[in-house]
Amino acid sequence: MHIKIRAFGIAKDILSATTLSYDIPDGSTIQDLKSILLQDYPDFERLRSLAFAINESYVEDGNEIRQGDEVVLIPPVSGG
């Protein structure tokens, strides 16, 4: 299925892009997507953490991704 990936901060630097289109197997979870991304972009391994958001909210590793979702990569935040 087809999803959109959006990245901020260092995740944007690692992808060399703000948004990316991605094809992943139907029924993939956030955990599955994370494995795919780590394979394609090993630099993610070096981050202190990598969280994900869909619809402007954090999602858990087990969360299933749906066709057309925009999945946002949230590297370690550093506001304030």
Partner: protein, 148 residues
């Protein structure tokens, strides 16, 4: 019509601004006749970090989610403590030394609650709000806290 929800929103002021934050604007919202205590946290851009001289900071935010996460923090604070008002104002863009990335203000009848709640808000903001800070040095730059 959810009056409770509307009332709660009257107690919270969330802002994500590209222009300088003003302590006076924060206080204007925070003041309340029933308040005996106001506590403010103002984050400022330091000229040094880990022994290196900082030129400036750049803040990037995932804006709609940053706003919604800041609101969640304020709502949770209002749920935990009997506060009168909570304001969380954050800046984005390029900030020079001395400029203000964040102002948090809370008011309550008594001071201990105000201190606790204000510290809770800034501590949680730094953990959950999708905003990223890049330090610009004379000889390079780096995203803060990205790596272990």
């Amino acid at each position: 019509m959810s009056t409770g929800k509307e009332n709660k929103n009257d107690l919270i002021d969330i802002r994500l601004e590209v222009t300088p934050l003003l302590q006076s604007a924060c206080r204007e919202f925070i003041m309340a006749d029933g308040a005996g205590a106001e506590v403010y946290f103002i984050g400022t851009v330091r000229n040094r970090t880990r022994g290196k001289e900082v030129q400036r900071l750049e803040f990037e935010a995932y804006e709609p989610m940053a706003i919604s996460e800041m609101r969640k923090i304020a709502e949770r604070a209002l749920g935990k403590w009997p506060l009168l008002k909570v304001a969380i104002h954050h800046r984005t863009g390029v900030l020079d030394i001395g400029e203000i990335p964040v102002i948090i203000g809370v008011s309550s009848a008594h001071r201990n609650i105000a201190f606790e709640a204000c510290q809770y808000c800034i501590d949680t903001l730094k953990e959950t709000v999708p905003i990223w800070k890049k330090e610009i040095f004379t000889d390079g730059e780096q995203w803060v806290s990205a790596h272990p």
